[in-house]
């Protein structure tokens, strides 16, 4: 105990050095734990974001890109999918449910997802958990549903008004303010990008983007999502005689039910172009992507192929799980690199400590000599130095953990809003305790080097002054 007090007193007499050493160790420990924590939580956040969806379909692009923009709202769609194509697959016999989504707008930086109310029914996160409402209900026309984070940050509740802006920046100088929406519901917190999102109906999005207003039309028919001209202008750009030709091809190789679909489709197209009156008009000419649930999950692999080889429009279908798997595989090297870097950071911290101890040894020669002169044995000197190093490291670790928690607390909202990843202030995990243990043990062994040198220094060495 006396020895400990001696070590402490000696340390206090060299405050600056000691503080710097503690700080160096704290930073390395923070990085060592932080890198691991962030990468794990990113992983968990990504993996828990989507569940229960068998396929995501978008315009032809990379699979990871499609997953990122459709589910994580990171990045932008490369191109759109026409409503006709969506309908074709939505009515496919293998498809149990499908939900279209259209992206591209925002409210104060929060992404707006135009979809159908069925989204809330079918979307699942973290092992098949459904979305739930804290208050309110799914949107109807001219209404919106907001995620937990949006409601909190913008102070919205059921009945509030919301103005959607064009583009995805935090401020847009082109707001659709002639078309305010009323909040119809607020979703429960999920810890996924859904918390950041605002959900509106496809039809409203189309109208904001200059699609035809159809108020009078709406009242006539119960089918709310109908507009005449919108379809003509956009949707039919893809229709041409070539496609009929393709369809004939299709009959020969596809199995029976598809063949049916095709002819039906052709029929519809003709109707659409010649007799406007009887066609069900799409709520929006094109969408960004759609989520699909199949009758049978294993069937996804065949359905994916069918969609990817659809000749009328270049599409990409992904199985979200398989794409995540691919993403992990891509990132696994990166993760290894990160942990190697943090290990080196720790090594640097420990070598820094060694350097400080060795330097202080020179400085403390007289101190040691005095100690030995008043009767401290070489063993005491050894213990003194080792215990000093261990105490420094222990304090450094504690400060590092505190720094880590402080950083997480400060940066978590920013990380969540910029990357859609929730980093929580969880308890220290077993692995983190292990890493801290390794640091402490390493510091013990490293401090043995200067301690050994001090042990070997003779009594006379310190007392005889050399200039």
């Amino acid at each position: 105990m006396k020895l400990f007090r001696l070590a402490l007193a000696s340390l206090l007499s060299r405050k600056t050095n000691a503080l710097l050493t503690i700080f160096a160790i704290a930073i390395s420990v923070m990085l060592l734990l932080g890198v691991e924590r962030v990468s794990q939580q990113t992983r968990a956040g990504f993996a828990n974001t989507i569940s229960g969806t068998d396929l995501i379909v978008g315009a032809r692009s990379g699979s990871v890109n499609l997953l990122l923009y459709s589910v994580f709202h990171i990045g932008n769609p490369t191109a759109n999918v026409s409503w006709q194509t969506y309908e074709r697959f939505a009515n496919h016999p293998q498809v149990a449910w499908s939900v279209p989504i259209a992206l591209g707008d925002s409210v104060r930086g929060f992404p707006v997802i135009a979809t159908e109310p069925a989204y809330f029914e079918h979307f699942r996160f973290a092992q098949q958990q459904p979305l739930t409402f804290v208050e309110g209900q799914p949107f109807a026309r001219e209404q919106a549903v907001v995620g937990a984070q949006v409601a909190q940050q913008l102070g919205l509740q059921v009945g509030s008004e919301l103005v959607v802006a064009h583009g995805t920046g935090s401020v847009s100088f082109h707001e659709h303010d002639d078309h305010p929406l009323i909040i119809s519901g607020v979703l429960a917190r999920t810890g996924t990008p859904v918390d950041q999102a605002i959900f509106i109906s496809l039809r409203d999005l189309d109208i904001m983007h200059g699609g035809d207003h159809d108020h009078d039309h709406d009242h006539e028919h119960e089918h709310e999502h109908e507009s005449h001209a919108g379809n003509d202008e956009h949707g039919h750009m893809h229709q041409s005689d070539e496609h009929n030709h393709e369809h004939q091809h299709g009959h020969t190789h596809q199995n029976h039910d598809h063949g049916h679909e095709h002819s039906h489709q052709n029929h519809e197209h003709e109707h659409a172009s010649h007799e406007h009156e009887h066609v069900v008009q799409p709520p929006i000419p094109s969408i960004s992507a759609f989520l699909v649930g199949l009758q049978s999950r294993p069937r996804a692999i065949f359905m994916q192929r069918e969609i990817n080889t659809y000749r009328d429009e270049p599409l990409t279908a992904i199985m979200p799980g398989a794409t995540l798997q691919e993403l992990w595989r891509t990132l696994s090297g990166f993760e290894t690199a990160l942990s190697i870097v943090s290990a080196f950071v720790l090594l640097t911290g420990l070598i820094g400590m060694l350097a400080t101890l060795l330097a202080s040894l020179r400085e403390r020669r007289r101190e040691m000599a005095v100690l030995r002169a008043i009767g401290a044995g070489p063993k005491t000197i050894f213990t003194l130095l080792v215990s000093e190093a261990v105490v420094l490291t222990a304090v450094g670790i504690a400060v590092g953990v505190a720094l880590l928690y402080g950083m997480v607390a400060v940066l978590a909202p920013w990380i969540q809003s910029s990357f859609g990843v929730v980093v929580s202030l969880g308890a220290i995990s077993t692995e983190e305790w292990q890493r801290m243990g390794i640091v402490l043990v390493a510091s013990f062994f490293i401090s043995c080097i200067p301690a050994w040198r001090a042990y070997r220094n003779s009594l006379a060495d310190g007392l005889s002054m050399r200039f």
């Binding site: 992983r43 068998d54 069937r299 799980g321």
Partner: protein, 160 residues
């Protein structure tokens, strides 16, 4: 005491070979009838030029009903269906890597739908795996489930 020991030893001896014999190591050819030939996997360019070959041709590929209920061990690649941040709990086992992206997926009798509640850690799924478990053969009349075999895995290990 001695009696019990003998009994236990005997029981043990009786069990061990049986357990080993129980698990049959299959290869993918044994999952299809011997007279049936899988469509060849060709170069992606071939499919570009012959769009009619793009889609799964033989969705009603025959299965081998005799395998039903057997404990088997089968190597293959994992295509994830469901999982969390650390493990894959439900996947399709396919005989070649990259199945389904550039070339048509394998026929249904060359895909095994595996459920493994314990989960396979992601790093294991990056390469080929051995899957051990009880195989179930799908009835042919079920129109929707177009994967020929279901497997309830008890173990999934790295192939190498």
């Amino acid at each position: 005491m001695k009696f019990w020991l003998t009994l236990v030893t005997l029981a043990f001896l009786a069990c061990v070979p049986q357990v080993q014999a129980d698990v049959r190591t299959l290869n993918w050819n044994e999952l299809k009838p011997s007279d049936w030939k899988a469509p060849p996997v060709r170069d992606p360019m071939f499919y570009e030029q012959n769009p009619e070959a793009q889609i799964q041709q033989s969705l009603d590929a025959p299965v081998v009903p005799e395998l039903d209920g057997l404990r088997i061990k089968l190597p293959g690649y994992v295509v994830q269906l469901e999982g969390d941040d650390r493990r894959v709990t439900e996947f399709l086992l396919v005989p070649y890597f990259g199945a389904c992206i550039h070339v048509p997926p394998p026929p249904p009798n060359q895909i095994v739908h595996v459920t493994f509640p314990e989960g396979v850690p992601y790093p294991v799924t990056y390469d080929a795996v051995w899957v051990t478990g009880t195989i179930k053969v799908e009835h042919k009349d079920s129109d929707l489930a177009l994967v020929g075999y279901q497997l309830e895995a008890t173990a999934v290990e790295p192939y190498f």
